[in-house]
Amino acid sequence: MPNEDEEILEKFRVDATKQMAFNLLIRKYQKRVYWLARKMVVDHEDANDISQEVFVKVWFHLEDFRQESGLFTWIYRIATNECFGFLRKKKKRFFLPLHDVENELAGKINSGNHFTGDEIQTKLQLAILKLPEKQRLVFNMKYFEEITYEEMSEILGTSVGALKASYHHAVQKIQAEVQKEERF
């Protein structure tokens, strides 16, 4: 809700209410940020680190936030950057090509320690992990969170047309992947 965000921002600018405003902000957005990260990196600990880092960045930069976009959009942009940064670092740290990182994430889904969905849900998650990073993010945002293309465009800095194309490619790949799995 924009009005609620406005209130949070106003309180954040006053020293006496800064901490309280920040707590309100965490409570409002922590779940969405966490789930965005969790769907991208699967592992709870990694998603936890990413989410905490996102809010630490919010704490240090919220005063510079110019309100050119919504607060939610701004936080989401930080969260997506953190997720991409995390995956990139992981790839660099272990000198792995990106698809190996995705294989590792798929291994986590299959092991059942991180994911307890039934067969169809597991299939969907495994298919999502085979998508390129950005397509995966676009798919998660649209499919699970029902974020509009316009909002996504602000968050990711990509045109609406490109996002639509990206989502359609993602759906086609997932359909193909799920059907392939069913044949075996």
Partner: protein, 177 residues
Amino acid sequence: MENQYNFNGKKEEEYFENQFESILRKTIGLENWRLPGTSNIEANFLVPEGYWLQMEDGIRSKTLSKTSQNPHPYFNFQLAGILGSLLILMFASYFYMKNNIGVESWNVQLEKIPQEEMLAFVDFQNRDVQEYTEKLASANLNEMDLPKPSLRLNVVEIEQALEEIQQDDFTETIELN
């Protein structure tokens, strides 16, 4: 003229309308595509009990520790680290150069040059001086490339000039050192 394209036995407009509709259907189909039973997938990712409060605590302690660590809000640890390492690298390379390519090794290199070569080099350096000395001893001085006398006036000439001025001027009080 008969149309050369095949529209599957349909009229041209009808064919394109059908094509457009099928593309539209495909697009909308993809847009609203759902795999049944996957709406609440978040419930299948395990999250520890009371996690959200733990997360809040974690964020608060991180922000506090980072605030107290940072001596100035614009102080950038990463940048300071890079600058520090650059300075260390510069000093290390300076000391390495000084010890290995410094005066000592230069002296050692000089010692390695044979004495005849050194003398020949010194002679070569002095060739102009020798040539000049020989010329001075033998040839006519006027033919030599000596520096031309300065055009500046000496003290006597200045005094004479002033006396001439004094005769028809008011500069009687001028004192000469």
